[in-house]
């Protein structure tokens, strides 16, 4: 039981990491970034490609992959997203859905669907005997890395001046611009940062989940649910919900395993009915 809870926490940290980028983008840009799954996949794919074509190891790709995807995000934002900010949410969703299909389709036709092999870095191979279970070292690292990045992001956005500009810039761009802050640039960089987070999660995932063009598809819906349950504008909300959901899912896997993929939706309905804006969200 304890081992299952720990595993749930490991998964939860991963969900938190993945939903963080989505929450940042929604909270600050008001865009529902459906492309998150595809960019997550791209992060993992780049890690593999770095190793395969350039012999770059895991640690290098952990830093490089998010940067590359971040730049791609900036390009997407500048060329496509900024036209739809004033419109209803649905357009952002549909646009990013379209982008997802294109990215997945392209890579699928190049690399096929079976996936590409990727191993954990040597330093993290092997497992530690915790007494009640054997935990692979790599999974422990995933938890640590996720939590560190999550809380660092939260800190920057909620507690620093830069974060304050970002938040103000979304609520009242004209006012903030009047103060001399370059709001469009901020927005662009925020999107880039959000997708860089997705890519980072992708590199973290590459040794664990088979790197394939479709790897983002199954996760994206769950991550969405996490963000919605946590409250769509709230960073801390998605972090805590991600962790909590990982644990609940872990327990479901013990008692009613078949439903472990659906339990998140069940929770989503209940939460939305009881707390309109999610657990930690503010009704916009």
């Amino acid at each position: 039981m304890l081992s299952q809870l720990l595993l749930g926490l490991v998964n939860g940290a991963f969900y938190a990491m993945l939903s963080l980028g989505l929450a940042v983008i929604f909270g600050l840009l008001n865009v529902i970034n459906f492309a998150h799954g595809a960019l997550f996949m791209l992060g993992a794919l780049l890690a593999w490609a770095g190793m395969e074509y350039a012999g770059l190891n895991y640690w290098v790709m952990l830093a490089l992959s998010p940067i590359i995807v971040g730049v791609l995000g900036v390009i997407i934002e500048k060329s496509m997203l900024r036209w739809i900010y004033k419109l209803d949410h649905i357009y952002g969703l549909l646009l990013t859905l379209g982008i997802t299909l294109v990215i997945e389709g392209v890579f699928r036709s190049i690399y096929g669907v079976s996936g590409l092999p990727y191993s954990p870095p040597d330093a993290l191979q092997g497992a530690t005997d915790l007494g009640f279970m054997i935990l692979p070292n790599y999974r422990a690292w995933v938890v640590v890395a996720s939590l560190v990045v999550c809380f660092a992001t939260w800190f920057v956005i909620e507690k620093t001046k830069l974060g304050a500009y970002l938040r103000a810039g979304t609520e009242n761009p004209k006012m903030v611009e009047a103060f001399g802050v370059n709001v469009p640039l901020m927005v662009t960089l925020t999107y880039g940062f959000g997708v860089a987070l997705a890519a980072f999660a992708g590199v973290l995932a590459a040794p664990v989940i088979q790197v394939s063009p479709l790897m983002g598809q199954n996760l994206i819906i769950v991550v969405f649910a996490v963000v919605v349950i946590g409250g769509m504008g709230s960073i801390m909300g998605s972090i805590l919900t991600g962790l909590g959901l990982g644990v609940i899912e872990g327990l479901t896997k013990v008692f009613y395993p078949e439903a472990s993929a659906t339990v998140v939706f069940f929770i989503m309905v209940i939460v939305l009915l009881l707390r309109p804006a999610g657990l930690f969200g503010r009704e916009k």
Binding site: S3, Q4, L7, G8, V10, N11, G105, R108, S109, G112, V113, S114, G115, L116, P117, S119, P120, A127, M133, I134, P136, Y138, R139, V208, I209, Q210, S212, L214, M215, Q217, N218, L219, G250, K253, V254, P257, E258, A259, S260, A261, T262
Partner: protein, 402 residues
């Protein structure tokens, strides 16, 4: 004079009609072959475009013609949607005079196409789908199930592994009809051979993380971990099993696996794994010859399904030649009479449409044992055809119960 010429013309026409009646009859003057499978989704690697290439090779090798008439090939991607598969099959049969429907992966689409083919009375050979229903509850006089089915996999892996000493089993099953039937069939065979099923856990389809299910498997202390799932789920299960050190105390039996899965996981992750398949490229000179031809075109070694695609189409064309017609009833009669002997199999198609041939239990080599690219498997045991597939007594097909 005009009368004579007219008379000659009439006579010639009549003679011509009579003579074509006596010799080969090909409907619509072409033999049309339609190939419907998953070309771009989950199963695209094991069958997909590679299978299409194999079919093309078969047609080419037959000379592009049968009974002196050209062969036309059409293909479609059913995108794992039964809607599209059945509609395309129906349309080709109604509007294009389709003679042979070759069906690929995905059981739902296979069953839907089966219904269309039996309604329209056209020859349907399915290669990629696993559902044994095609030759049991849904059997039809026009359907051939060519390569493998879940029963063969279950009997193959189940009995052979138990005979090798793997007596206690734990199943990790994908929670859908295919996974359930794979588990049930294999469990029955395991028990019939003196083994035990210690436990089972069902995971949702396309789960990304298997760690929690694998821990449950480990806690059961069974000798064998049976993976009753497919595709991405199997791959992720194996990866996680290696990661959590499951493979130290348990052997993994992949109940539905293809060489492509091993290729994408790498030998480090899969060594020692047991799987049943109908064919392997490196078994003998004939298989290697064909496989290298395939490799030249696709840059990867063929899976058993792709080899079966070639064999099925080639066999069909031979049947048409022998029957001297492409009339579905006569061709089906010929298909069930002929003894198939090619690089893919020595097979015999039974009255219920089931192609009976040997299956092979194979084991994944250790990295050190692998001497060349794609040198992944070694054959550990051969399961004779009459033991591998559903027996006549067990069959639920009405056609066998005469």
């Amino acid at each position: 004079m005009k009368m004579t010429r007219l008379a000659v013309a009439v006579a010639a026409t009549v003679l011509g009609a009579v003579s074509t009646g006596a010799s080969a009859q090909v409907s619509g003057d072409t033999v049309k072959i339609g190939y419907i499978t998953d070309l771009s989704g989950l199963y695209a690697d094991i069958d997909g475009p590679g299978g299409l290439e194999a079919v093309k090779m078969a047609i080419e090798d037959h000379g592009g013609k049968v009974l002196g008439k050209p062969i036309e090939l059409m293909s479609a991607d059913h995108q794992n949607k039964a809607d599209i598969a059945a509609s395309k099959a129906r349309e080709w049969m109604d509007q294009q005079g389709l003679d042979l429907l070759v069906g690929g992966t995905n059981s739902g689409t296979a069953l839907a196409m089966n219904k269309v083919a039996s309604e329209k009375k056209r020859v349907y050979i399915n290669i990629g789908a696993g559902t044994a229903r095609l030759t049991n509850e849904e059997c039809s006089p026009y359907t051939v199930h060519y390569a493998y089915d879940t029963v063969a996999l279950a009997k193959g892996t189940g009995s052979a592994v138990v005979k090798q000493g793997g007596k206690s089993w734990f199943f990790l099953t994908a929670d859908y009809a295919f996974g359930h039937s794979l588990e049930t069939d294999t469990a029955a065979v395991v028990k019939a051979n003196g083994g035990t099923v210690v436990g089972t856990v069902r995971h949702p389809l396309s789960a990304s993380d298997f760690s929690s299910f694998l821990l449950q498997a480990q806690a059961s202390k069974a000798q064998i971990l049976g993976l009753a799932n497919a595709g991405g789920d199997t791959i992720n299960s194996i990866k996680a099993a290696k990661e959590f050190g499951i493979t130290k105390n348990m052997k993994i039996a992949g109940l539905l696996m293809f060489i492509n899965d091993v290729h994408s996981l790498g030998l480090k992750n899969t060594e020692g794994l047991l799987m049943t398949d109908s064919w392997y490229w490196d078994m003998n000179d004939d298989t290697r010859k064909w496989a290298n031809r395939f490799f030249g075109k696709m840059k990867k070694m063929p899976s058993s399904l792709q080899a079966a695609d070639y064999s099925a189409v080639s066999t069909y064309l031979k049947a048409v030649e022998t029957a001297k017609t492409d009339d579905p009833d006569k061709v089906m009669a010929e298909l069930k009479k002929m003894k198939i002997n090619d690089f893919y199999n020595k097979g015999q198609i039974r009255a219920d449409g089931r192609n009976i041939h040997d299956m092979y239990l194979m084991q994944v080599k250790a990295p050190a044992e692998s001497k060349k690219p794609w040198d992944y498997l070694k054959v550990v045991a051969t399961i004779p055809g009459d033991q591998a597939f559903t027996t006549v007594a067990e069959s639920k097909c009405a056609m066998l119960k005469k």
